[in-house]
């Protein structure tokens, strides 16, 4: 239960090579193509999974996690750092606390109502699904409300300690 937050940069931010942004774009294109191909960019398909009409979505997350799991496992055993940033290869480990459960629960209600999650919603725009902008607008509103609430709580309880 004491997993540390990973992803600390070992170097400065401006160590990025010239191919940094092009690579991010290519990665995003492949990621978005996958969300389109897997049908997960369609809220209907997600809701049909949650209603037990079609369990195919298990293969989407499973297929993706096998690829990332293999990649992380191999890369973290390499001695070198990432070529474009000098960052060390780490796993995605976040600390566990009750927020993980509370946040997961709230996310679950929202996902169950709408069938949308962030990545799939962006991809849905690419399908031409302009109606998804209601969902993306909602997500921005939710993230903003959460930020405001955190500020309020931090101000109210301990103005000297910073959040996180």
């Amino acid at each position: 239960m004491s997993e540390k937050t990973s992803g600390k940069t070992t170097g400065k931010q401006n160590e990025r090579g010239p191919l940094f942004m092009p690579l991010i774009l290519v990665g995003g294109l492949i990621f978005g193509f996958g969300l389109g191909f897997s049908q997960m960019a369609k809220p209907e398909v997600v809701l049909q999974f949650l209603q037990f009409d079609d369990f195919g979505l298990l293969f989407v997350m499973g297929g993706a996690a096998v690829v990332t799991g293999t990649t992380f496992a191999v890369a973290t055993r390499l001695s070198g750092n990432a070529p474009l940033t000098g960052k060390a290869y780490t796993r995605r480990l976040k600390s566990f606390d009750k927020n993980v459960l509370v946040g997961g629960g709230i996310f679950g209600i929202g996902w169950g109502i709408s069938g949308i999650c962030p990545g799939a919603a962006y991809a849905s725009v690419g399908l031409g699904n302009y109606l998804i902008l209601f969902g993306i607008g909602g997500m921005f509103l939710g993230a903003y409300l959460q930020g405001l609430w955190r500020k309020h709580r931090t101000d109210a309880t301990s103005p000297t300690t910073s959040a996180d």
Binding site: L23, V26, G27, G28, L29, I30, F31, G32, G34, L35, G36, S38, Q39, E44, L47, L50, Q51, F52, D54, L58, V60, G62, G63, A64, V67, T68, F72, L84, A88, R92, L93, K94, F96, G103, G104, I106, I109, G110, W111, G112, S114, A123, S124, G126, L127, G128, Y130, L131, G135, G137, G138, M139, F140, G142, A143, Y144, L145, Q146, K151, A163
Partner: protein
């Protein structure tokens, strides 16, 4: 005799067809592409790209709320915008190649909006979303992520089943 043999041979296929009425290949292949997108960025940069942090880092362009002005958010917001534009572009490429016309959802606007608000709150409190926890975290064998995924899966299934029981389900 022959009939029961035939039946027992067909039973798994029938069950499979019931569980996966649309097959599994496009789901699995799409999932592999999603994983490859994360892997390409990771191998080049060491960055594990989740999709939901785009929301609060993008808010840092327009809001002074300290939550959004944290150094690590401001430092990553530019590439997160590029990543998100890539996601939109990749899905557009899929749609143009395989369908050639736009697709729009039948899910009602109020469900998208209210669900979106809860998703926005939940991913930020819970430290990640379906790609962050569900793909990258699970791929990292992270206890935190596995618990988060189990939580949101269970709650989402319960919510969707409840809505369906109220007669507002989405029919295939």
């Amino acid at each position: 005799m022959a009939l029961s043999l035939l039946q027992s041979a067909l039973m798994p296929a029938l069950t499979f067809a019931e569980l996966f009425p649309n097959g599994v290949s496009h789901y699995a292949i799409g999932g592999v592409f999603i994983g490859l997108g994360v892997a390409v960025i990771y191998l080049g940069t060491g960055i594990i790209a989740g999709a939901s942090t785009f929301l609060e880092t993008t808010l840092s362009y327009v809001s002074g709320v300290p939550r959004f002005q944290k150094g690590k958010y401001v430092a990553s917001r530019d590439w997160r915008v590029v990543f998100t534009l890539g996601i939109i572009g990749g899905a557009a490429i899929y749609q143009v190649i395989f369908h050639g016309e736009i697709w729009t959802t039948d899910v009602e606007w109020w469900r998208l909006l209210s669900g979106g608000v809860l998703v926005g709150i939940g991913t930020r409190i819970g430290k990640g979303c379906t790609s962050g926890h569900g793909v990258c975290g699970v791929g990292s064998a992270s206890f935190t992520s596995i618990v988060n995924v189990a939580t949101f899966m269970t709650v989402a299934i319960g919510t969707a089943q409840l809505i369906q029981a109220m007669g507002m389900g989405i029919s295939p």
